[in-house]
């Protein structure tokens, strides 16, 4: 935290709402420019939706917004929230984690029984469980879980932790109707204190609100 708005917020000492700032982003896939000149600010309060067809660049943009990969040009700033007012150790003690990131290709090791994973989650993740794990999964090996059950377990552990920034890439994929509604409600609640961005190639759920960005493959329409 050495320059830019992050350090200013830190020096203020006041916790402010987590805000995700993208400035003049350019993202390339090989030689192809998939996002160019993207400037955007998203503050906690509502879920932001990133909608577009396959190949439009949603996943690449999400990874850059999560700061897992650098942009070809421009920059992403994560401003405010726990980590600006706490040292990492203190934020850790409070159960805070700055970024949560999910991609549907994340999977569980098949040899592990589901209960081992939920126990790991119980020890790593304090407090509330927005997507409660299904205890009935019990001794099933993860390899024997349905894809939906597996994704729900993974998502549940990410959502259970206090986050300043939550970036979920296709979280609705493989979920049943009930689980989708549950997820939408959970995201709406979490967005009050976290900057939440959801990428989807489907339509935004009926019950959702918040800004929608449409990626067309040639640009972004807000």
């Amino acid at each position: 935290m050495s320059d830019g708005p992050d350090s200013r917020a830190a020096s203020d000492g006041n916790e402010r709402r987590p805000t995700l700032i993208a400035e003049s982003l350019e993202i390339r896939r090989g030689a192809t420019v998939i996002v160019s000149g993207f400037t955007w600010t998203h503050e906690a309060g509502h879920v932001a939706w990133l909608v577009g067809p396959n190949g439009a660049g949603k996943s690449s943009l999400m990874r850059v917004l999560a700061r897992l990969e650098p942009a070809a040009a421009g920059r992403v700033t994560h401003l405010g929230g726990h980590a600006d007012s706490d040292s990492p150790a203190e934020a850790s003690r409070r159960g805070a984690c700055r970024v949560g990131y999910y991609h549907p290709s994340m999977s569980l090791p098949g040899e592990v029984v589901a209960r081992s994973f939920t126990r790991l989650g119980d020890r790593l993740v304090p407090h509330d469980k927005p997507l409660a794990p299904d205890r009935a999964l019990g001794r099933k090996r993860c390899a024997d879980l349905s894809t939906g059950e597996e994704k729900r377990l993974l998502l549940g552990q990410i959502l259970a932790r206090a986050r300043d920034f939550l970036l979920l890439d296709e979280p609705y994929e493989h979920l049943s109707g009930d689980a989708r509604l549950e997820l939408t409600d959970a995201l709406t609640r979490l967005a009050r204190r976290s900057a939440v961005v959801v990428a989807t190639n489907q339509e935004v759920p009926d019950r959702a609100d918040g800004p929608v960005l449409r990626l067309t493959g040639t640009g972004i329409l807000t």
């Binding site: 980590a83 850790s92 003690r93 159960g95 984690c97 970024v99 552990q157």
Partner: protein, 233 residues
């Protein structure tokens, strides 16, 4: 900027649960059962030979131990990469150092458990030579621990499910090549195994020293290299 904090109580508290998870995972792998079967089967076969009057000596313990170790010694780094489970853990829950430390802890416990099983099996098949079995198992466990950082290094860069086989093969090729070219067994001296005398506990000293000091140092170096291949956070 620091992200991806460890569990609620900090890094130290996160290693325990994750190591326990890795331990369960290691024990539940089909290859772990295969390792035990290979160990038991090879030991039993070697003693059948003894019962028929052909002395097999302790060489067969080594073969049995190595066969099993090749099957079970792995950290799951390659599998995690394939499943993006490393990214899931490191971005969302724990620091990279915690992730790697938990795997090393789990491997250490698995090696001790495997050694204990080897003692029981060897003692049972040899008709009660418990002290000799314990000496053999300790010697091979210490040697396996020396190779454990190299197994991690192989898994860091290669998508193989038998990283210990790669390490052993590379080691034997190195030993043989150096012996043929230079006429020296220096690679064996490096490990401290040229001083071993079966049944003499004091002869384990050089190997123990190297294992307890050398392996942790090697883990520090290999860990730094392994972190380069882990997701950024």
């Amino acid at each position: 900027m620091s992200r991806g904090y460890a569990a609620r109580g900090g890094r130290g508290e996160a290693i325990g649960p994750l190591a326990l998870f890795e331990l369960r995972r290691g024990a539940q792998r089909p290859s772990s059962l295969l390792a035990l079967l290979l160990l038991a089967g090879t030991l039993a076969l070697s003693h059948v030979d003894e019962w028929r009057g052909r002395s097999a000596g302790e060489g067969f313990f080594g073969h049995a131990y190595l066969l099993g170790a090749i099957a079970f010694m792995r950290y799951g780094l390659a599998a995690d990469r394939r499943l993006r489970f490393d990214e899931y853990l490191i971005v969302n829950h724990v620091r990279p150092a915690t992730y790697l430390s938990a795997k090393v802890c789990a491997m250490a416990i698995l090696l001790v458990a495997y050694g204990a099983v080897a003692v029981v099996l060897e003692a049972a098949f040899s008709g009660g030579g418990f002290a000799d079995a314990a000496w053999l198992a300790l010697a091979f466990t210490l040697a396996a621990w020396m190779f454990a950082p190299l197994v991690m290094l192989v898994e860091t860069w290669a998508d193989t499910s038998l990283p210990a086989a790669v390490v052993l093969l590379a080691y034997f090729v190195t030993v043989i090549t150096i012996y043929m070219v230079g006429g020296t067994l220096a690679p064996l001296d490096v490990l401290g195994i040229t001083h071993l005398e079966p049944g003499y506990w004091s002869s384990l000293g050089p190997l123990t020293l190297r294992s307890l000091i050398g392996a942790p140092l090697a883990f520090l170096l290999v860990g730094a290299a392994a972190r380069l291949s882990l997701p950024r956070c």
